[in-house]
């Protein structure tokens, strides 16, 4: 027998559980959300304003076209995304401003890219990125890019292999490993560099090419910031030079001259490792960058026999020289812009904390004149499925 009091308590508990656990306070169903896949930030003509472009996914249009279903009409179906632009005083204000255009509330957890327009980036980005760091919806794993054109133009390009341009750009960055000629910087990395006293933030650089309806976006290198202001760009070669030092090389092709001098040989990077070693010699600060690389012979466009020991050794030497030149090119550019994109300052800080206290504030004067030794150890491991090239004996 259950006592009356406890029976009442049980019924109360069960009804509370049913009532309280059935839903959340501010639940939001999928069909009330505008899922943002990419955000662009531009500086409009009007001073002191922010222009924000978001790309919203239309889940209803995302499904693959049905086989043989030509009933959709000749229009070719609608785009599965919607690009909206709004202008306001602050980032958050502008995003909320979009409620006048979009009947669904913008939802940021699936925002994959943050594109900063060139003008906005030159002005300083701290004020734009604070919202993305502070709000609980956007993720710190979003990629940060600088658009050489305006960010809204980049988001309005056409994606061929993906349905949504923003997702296409995000995948473009994830596929950078094939060349290692584009940097990939998450919001978290960007903020880390932004908070560092000496290390300069970098971001992927994206450009729009083509005309009219056939515009496509492509990665063309790296944008370099001084403090939070855009300072300049690295081209593809310089970008790879930067990535060698940062230990972020995945793969890529190194073109070297044939030992005979009649054409090029392509060497594929298989793995690479690097280390930044600060050292004090004779009371002056030196930096050494040690790079270990392994490559394979990928293709040869000359008819020489590369299997001889001397030719193989020459290839290895040329390979090392190319890597060396790429790093030097990046270094030259960094010195010109006086931006410590490599994190040399942090490396010195970690190794010589006492010395660092003296030079920390003078690092801008130190950096351009810093002696950097680049030591490359490049190996060539395999020749592929054939040894000598295809030609009559």
């Amino acid at each position: 027998m259950v006592k009356r009091g406890s029976l009442f308590l049980r019924i109360l508990a069960i009804s509370l559980i049913i009532l309280l656990t059935a839903g959340c306070w501010n639940r939001r169903e999928l069909d009330t959300l505008a899922i943002v896949s990419g955000t662009g930030i531009d500086k409009p003509e009007e001073p002191g304003k922010v222009q924000i472009t978001v790309q919203i996914i239309k889940p209803g249009e995302m499904k693959a076209p049905q086989a043989g279903g030509g009933g959709e009409g000749g229009s070719g179906g609608q785009k599965p995304y919607w690009t909206v632009t709004a202008t306001g005083d602050t980032v958050f204000d502008t995003i909320r401003e979009m409620a006048h255009k979009s009947n669904r509330k913008l939802f940021f957890p699936h925002n994959e890219i943050i594109i900063l327009g060139e003008d906005a980036a030159e002005e300083g980005v701290q004020k734009y990125l604070d919202f993305f760091a502070r709000d609980h919806e956007p993720r710190w794993l979003a990629w940060v890019l600088v658009g050489k054109n305006t960010a809204s133009e980049v988001l309005e390009t056409k994606a061929e292999l993906e349905k949504v341009p923003a997702i296409s750009i995000s995948k473009l960055i994830e596929a950078r490993g094939a060349t290692s000629e584009a940097s990939a910087v998450t919001l978290h990395e960007f903020l880390t560099r932004l908070m560092s006293k000496t290390t300069a933030p970098v971001a992927s650089l994206i450009e729009v090419s083509g005309q009219g309806k056939e515009k496509t976006a492509l990665l063309t290198g790296t944008a370099v910031f001084k403090k939070d202001k855009l300072a300049g760009y690295l081209n593809k070669t310089e970008t790879r030079g930067l990535l060698w030092v940062l230990n972020e090389i995945k793969s890529g092709i190194i073109d070297v001259e044939c030992p005979g001098g009649k054409g090029k040989v392509s060497l594929e990077i298989i793995r690479a490792r690097s280390k930044i070693i600060p050292e004090i010699k004779d009371n002056t600060l030196h930096l050494a960058v040690e790079i270990d690389e392994e490559g394979n012979l990928g293709s040869q466009m000359c008819s020489d026999d590369l299997t001889s020991e001397s030719a193989w050794k020459t290839l290895e030497k040329n390979q090392a020289a190319v890597i060396h030149n790429e790093v030097m090119a990046a270094l030259k550019k960094a010195r010109e812009l006086n931006t410590d994109i490599f994190g040399f300052g942090e490396a010195v800080h970690k190794k010589y904390p006492k010395l660092w206290k003296d030079i920390e504030d003078k690092w801008d004067e130190f950096f351009p004149n810093l002696e950097v030794a680049v030591i490359v150890d490049a190996k060539l491991r395999r020749s592929g499925l054939i040894t000598k090239t295809v030609k009559p004996e």
């Binding site: 959340c24 957890p109 880390t192 560092s196 970690k350 190794k351």
Partner: protein, 367 residues
């Protein structure tokens, strides 16, 4: 007349104490002021905390079966003892309300910005009230399951984050001025290690009171190790952005991304806070309720559970206007405010007890 009939084993005390110490310090990393040296500051704070723990356990062993409230009367006499006991009851309640507040702030910041904070606080307080009604034995048994789960989460997230960790973020070791380091390590000693003073309400129910010392020391060391793992994980993953993160552990776990599949696991941190914070609040709540009953010489503490819970809930919503006020209080005032409760009074109590020779050692069987 016995207010609490339950008995706990030494191993249960270890788990309960680990859970209590992890409590909200899992999300509000202690010694955050020490930047990337916080793991060192936690270890230094552990040193200080172990001294505190020795004082508590010596007291507890000297007065076997007597809670803080009961032996205060013996040491200081019935009047002064009761005033000091009142101070402690306030401290337990306020600490419990602080942890409740952490709950509310955490959930309204990260997941439910539009839900009123009081909803979370009341829900958690109700669970704790139910635990307190069931007595210390139930709370202690819960702790085993919950602490083991937290173990798994801490190490699991550390493994999933392994590829994102940069241990060079921890360099250079000992980068902050000594003064700031001591300040940070002292704040780690008062939050969370010194808060184990609340266990003076729990240790009397140990099956073997002799185990109090070893159990407490083991528990504090293990909790500190877990906190160091968390601190190192967060610093290695977040780097300098840890210093501006409101909830570093949450921020770090948000960055888990293994092949785009194992991702968005941050809710694990909320579950950690929920389970460890529950243990902490339950112990403090229990201490306050049991202590009040003993102070007022009641026959049962059950009628006090809900009123004191209501007091704790209101206090938690009233004492701070914003999380920034809470952070400033925790960093600037709490390390000094907590001192008399955590070291001052226990140390004086121990000295007086030794000087006055209480309790009188009785030879042979009790007469």
């Amino acid at each position: 007349m016995k207010l609490e009939g339950g008995k706990i084993a030494g191993s249960e005390l270890v788990f309960l104490m680990i859970g209590f110490t992890l409590g909200s310090s899992l999300i509000l990393s202690p010694a955050q002021a020490a930047k990337h040296d916080d793991w060192l500051a936690i270890l230094a704070g552990l040193g200080e905390g172990l001294v505190f723990a020795l004082i508590y356990t010596t007291l507890a062993v000297r007065f076997p079966g007597k809670t803080l409230i009961q032996f205060n009367d013996i040491i200081y006499g019935p009047y002064l003892g009761k005033i000091i006991s009142l101070g402690y009851l306030w401290y337990f309640l306020q600490l419990g309300s602080l942890v409740l507040r952490n709950f509310g702030d955490f959930f309204t910041t990260i997941i439910y910005p539009e839900t009123p904070m009081i909803v979370f606080i009341v829900l958690v307080a109700l669970i704790c009230a139910s635990a307190v009604r069931n007595g210390i034995e139930v709370i202690a048994r819960c702790s085993i399951l919950l602490v083991v789960f937290t173990f798994v989460v801490i190490f699991g997230t550390a493994i999933l984050l392994a590829k994102d960790m940069k241990f060079t973020n921890l360099l250079p070791v000992f980068d902050i001025p000594l003064r700031e380091f001591i300040k940070a390590s002292h704040s780690a000693a008062t939050f969370p290690f010194g808060e184990t003073v609340a266990f003076l309400m729990v240790i009397p129910f140990l099956k073997k009171v002799k185990e109090a010392k070893t159990s407490s020391i083991i528990a504090l060391i293990m909790a500190a190790m877990l906190l160091v793992v968390v601190a190192v994980r967060d610093t290695a993953v977040l780097g300098i952005t840890k210093t501006i993160s409101t909830y570093p552990a949450y921020q770090a776990v948000r960055l888990i991304d293994v092949g785009k599949i194992l991702t968005r696991l941050e809710i694990l941190i909320a579950i950690n806070l929920l389970s460890m914070g529950f243990l902490k609040i339950a112990v403090l709540y229990y201490g306050a309720v049991l202590g009040t009953a003993q102070l007022l010489k009641l026959r049962s503490y059950l009628p006090l559970v809900l009123p004191m819970g209501a007091f704790m809930v209101s206090l938690s919503t009233l004492q701070f206007g914003s999380n920034i006020e809470n952070i400033n209080f925790a960093q600037e005032i709490y390390p000094y405010y907590a001192l008399p409760f955590q070291v001052g009074l226990p140390l004086i109590s121990l000295l007086i007890a030794i000087l006055r020779g209480v309790p009188k050692k009785m030879k042979g069987a009790k007469k």
